[in-house]
């Protein structure tokens, strides 16, 4: 998707610039994405509009091409780095201007597992979609999840694992929530390369999310249902 030669981003109109940011994200061009974000802000775009229309939409396209086998992990990571750089600019502005909040998520990799690439991608995309995300990192025993839940009172608990040997630990966490009578208070989403829907059902999660884009859509869907239920019971 790269164009040859230097391109003056300021010479582009808003629509062209947004498209160019999508392309730059796709190509993992961090500095160009940063510049594009600054220009849109200078033109009076709200931080939320820049986030959703330029960055999130760009990463959505990256996600589709990853799913279809057109892009591979290194390219997705470069795109993610570029989006991260854009979000770094927007985050304080979003806090100031008050962007819509869809819900809150605690997310972490389970005990025994130090893999966090996918988990961090999900955290970033969830944040981009309007969720407040508390990322508790890697190698989390059940106590750490419970601590984070108690402290942050999230709507969603996200768990990730890359290893066949560590993914069963998700059941330990979910069973502990059940024992404490807390399971139904949270939407539990699980993900990671060796997981599948059948496994998610077997451990008692609400859903398996095969990638970051699916995680965002699933989370939005569950939050909608939660609000509908609350409205119905009010």
């Amino acid at each position: 998707m790269s164009d040859e030669g230097e391109l003056d981003l300021r010479s582009l109109n808003d629509e062209e610039l947004t498209q160019q940011i999508h392309d730059d994200l796709y190509d993992g061009l961090k500095e160009e994405v940063e510049e594009g974000v600054h220009i849109l802000l200078e033109r009076g775009w709200t931080p939320y509009k820049v986030l959703t229309e330029a960055l999130v939409e760009g990463m959505r396209i990256v996600g589709i091409d990853f799913r279809d086998g057109i892009l591979f992990v290194p390219e997705v990571l470069l795109a993610a780095n570029s989006m991260k750089a854009g979000m770094f600019i927007l985050r304080p502005l979003l806090a100031e201007t008050g962007a819509p909040r869809l819900g809150k998520m605690v997310i972490g990799t389970v005990k025994g597992d130090i893999h966090d690439i996918g988990k961090n991608l999900v955290a970033m995309m969830m944040e981009g979609a309007g969720f407040e995300v508390i990322n508790i990192g890697i190698n989390n025993p059940v106590e750490k999840y419970l601590e984070a839940i108690a402290e942050h009172q999230p709507d969603i608990l996200g768990m990730s694992a890359l290893l066949t040997t560590t993914m069963p630990y998700m059941k330990v966490v979910i069973d502990t929530l059940k024992e404490k009578g807390m399971r139904d208070d949270y939407i539990v989403l699980v993900g990671g390369a060796p997981l599948n829907e059948e496994f998610a059902k077997a451990v008692g999660a609400d859903a398996y999310c095969r990638d970051a884009a699916v995680a965002v859509e699933t989370a939005k869907d569950f939050m909608k249902r939660k609000h509908n239920q609350m409205a119905a019971s009010a």
Binding site: P74, L78, N81, G112, I114, I138, T165, A193
Partner: protein, 211 residues
């Protein structure tokens, strides 16, 4: 302790197409499997390998093995699969149960080379270890460095390896050149290095049982 012969032999050459037990294996084990067949003069086996690069894309493993099993069922007295779960999340075992085929026990080759129990016993200490086998030490550049895009984008190194502390080379053979390569790989990705000679472990035992 293994009772399988692991000393080199020049008197027996493995020839595919003559055995009555088909071993369906990861390509990353091909050299070790053929070495074991030759040094032990096992005549029972034929070997069908699937691409070692699926190490990075385990979603291809189950369909690939299914195809191999179905293409060869009835042509052999038995089929045995030399794959760990290898990131298939239990789907490989589900397939093998459906097909009535067994595999070597263990989550991955690091475990069955080390011995599954021994590997499990060190699991907590090894949580931040990145394992190399002979195959991975030999093909580090292609499979890991280029395969993960680090040749083109070394800036991704912290994202891939930031949580690891050391490279553990679990050696199948005593090969100084491979040990040097493994050490260089550790240096290249900025991790400490540890050498453990484990030999062929349960790969040899399981093959002997079926020879």
């Amino acid at each position: 302790m293994t009772l399988v012969n692991v000393k080199p032999s020049e008197e027996f050459e493995f020839l595919n197409g003559q055995g009555h037990v088909l071993l369906i294996a990861c390509g990353a084990l091909a050299r070790e499997i053929v070495d074991l067949i030759e040094v032990n003069r096992w005549k029972a086996f034929d070997v069908a390998c699937l691409p070692a690069k699926w190490h990075n894309t385990p979603q291809y493993i189950v369909p690939g093995i299914r195809e191999k099993i179905r293409a060869n069922k009835g042509r052999y007295k038995s089929i045995f699969v030399l794959y760990g779960d290898c990131g298939t999340g239990g789907l490989l075992d589900k397939l093998l149960e459906e097909e009535g085929v067994e595999r070597i026990p263990g989550p991955h080759c690091y475990a069955f080379f080390s011995g599954n129990d021994a590997f499990k016993a060190k699991e907590d200490d090894d949580i931040t270890s990145f394992f190399l086998t002979d195959y991975l030490a030999r093909h580090f550049d292609k499979l890991i460095w280029s395969g993960m895009g680090l040749d083109r984008h070394p800036e991704l190194l912290p994202m891939y390896f930031g949580n690891y502390k050391k490279v553990v080379y679990i050696a199948q053979t005593r090969d100084e050149d491979l040990a040097r390569r493994a050490m260089a790989a550790a240096k290249r990705i900025g991790l400490d290095y540890e050498y453990r000679f484990v030999g062929y472990g349960e790969l040899a035992d399981e093959m002997k049982t079926r020879a």
